[in-house]
């Protein structure tokens, strides 16, 4: 079993980061994600939004892994459950693979919160638990996977910055074209920044 954890600070307020995280795909840094579906969504009695999503990914497994595990299809599915608490300003996501569960288990947890000292910044804490089953090279493979997760995490952060830039660009264009005929609170908030 391997545990990987990291913390990252975005120079954007929590609301911006949360909107971006909700619309993270597609982005050029994660081209293997080809489908995102919402399976369930609701607001609980405390005003928190719960979402269950299915992420469909196509990896292009290296030939060695294919011959080792005897799989020919490379489509893997991840199920994600998330909770947005707009009062506490937390966005927590937990995901797990639901494909190849007999071979490997990758559980990931991400939490976005405002930076305790600076409300214009957001802290992302991220952890992953990796477990490879029934293979004698499990330590080595788990190490490789942790490295991949680390690389992907940094791509994921790049992806978030990309999504945030897109959101801000859209808002600027909307404001310019609408010229006050359309009142958008979000555009006003960004323009005031």
């Amino acid at each position: 079993m391997k545990i990987w954890a990291s913390e990252h600070i975005f120079n954007h307020p929590w609301e911006t980061v949360t909107k971006a995280a909700m619309q993270k795909y597609p982005n050029p840094m994660n081209p293997s994600v080809f489908g995102v579906d919402v399976l369930d969504r609701s607001v609980d009695t405390e005003g928190r939004l719960h979402s269950t999503r299915l992420l469909s990914t196509e990896w292009g497994l290296p030939a060695l892994a294919k011959s080792m595990f005897g799989v020919t299809r490379t489509c893997t599915y991840v199920q994600e459950h998330s909770v947005v608490d707009p009062k506490q300003q937390t966005f927590e996501l937990q995901s797990t693979n639901i494909s190849f569960t007999n071979l490997v288990s990758v559980d990931e947890k991400l939490t976005y919160k405002p930076h305790p000292q600076d409300p214009e910044k957001t802290v992302l804490t991220q952890e992953a638990l990796i477990s490879v089953k029934g293979v004698s090279l499990s330590n080595h493979l788990e190490g490789l996977m942790a490295k991949t997760i680390s690389v992907n995490a940094s791509k994921g952060r790049e992806a978030m910055e990309w999504v945030i830039r897109r959101l801000n660009t859209e808002i600027e264009e909307l404001t310019a074209t609408a010229r006050g005929t359309m009142r958008s609170p979000m555009a006003a908030a960004v323009a005031d920044k």
């Binding site: 597609p26 995102v36 719960h50 569960t101 288990s105 897109r166 958008s184």
Partner: protein, 106 residues
């Protein structure tokens, strides 16, 4: 229309230069994701547009007024649940009102 990863990369350039054709699309003209069920992609995008707007403008601002997306969600769900059954995707049971569930072992 979804954009290829290459197409998206080309647009990660100077801000404010997105092609004007985007203006003719829905208000939040974001590059869009597909559904796992190919036939459901359009329904999914309709729902996503509604949801993203409600999420940003109401929910995150503390506005607890009704969710305007229930109808589009229902239509999208019918389609996607059928696609999941058809592709035999091993979805885990949903307990959305409860505490975060533990991840199951295989």
């Amino acid at each position: 229309m979804s954009l290829s990863p290459t197409g998206l990369e080309q647009q990660v350039g100077p801000p404010g230069f997105a092609p004007l054709s985007f203006l003719s699309r829905a208000v939040f003209f974001f590059p869009e994701m597909n559904s796992v069920g190919e036939a459901c992609t359009e329904l999914k995008r309709e729902y996503d547009t509604c949801f993203n707007r409600w999420f940003a403008e109401k929910f995150l601002k503390g506005d607890r007024s009704g969710d305007p997306c229930t109808e589009s969600f229902r239509k999208y769900q019918r389609c996607v649940q059928a696609a999941i059954k058809e592709k035999e995707i091993p979805i885990d049971g949903v307990d959305f009102m409860g505490p975060n569930k533990d991840k199951p072992e295989s």
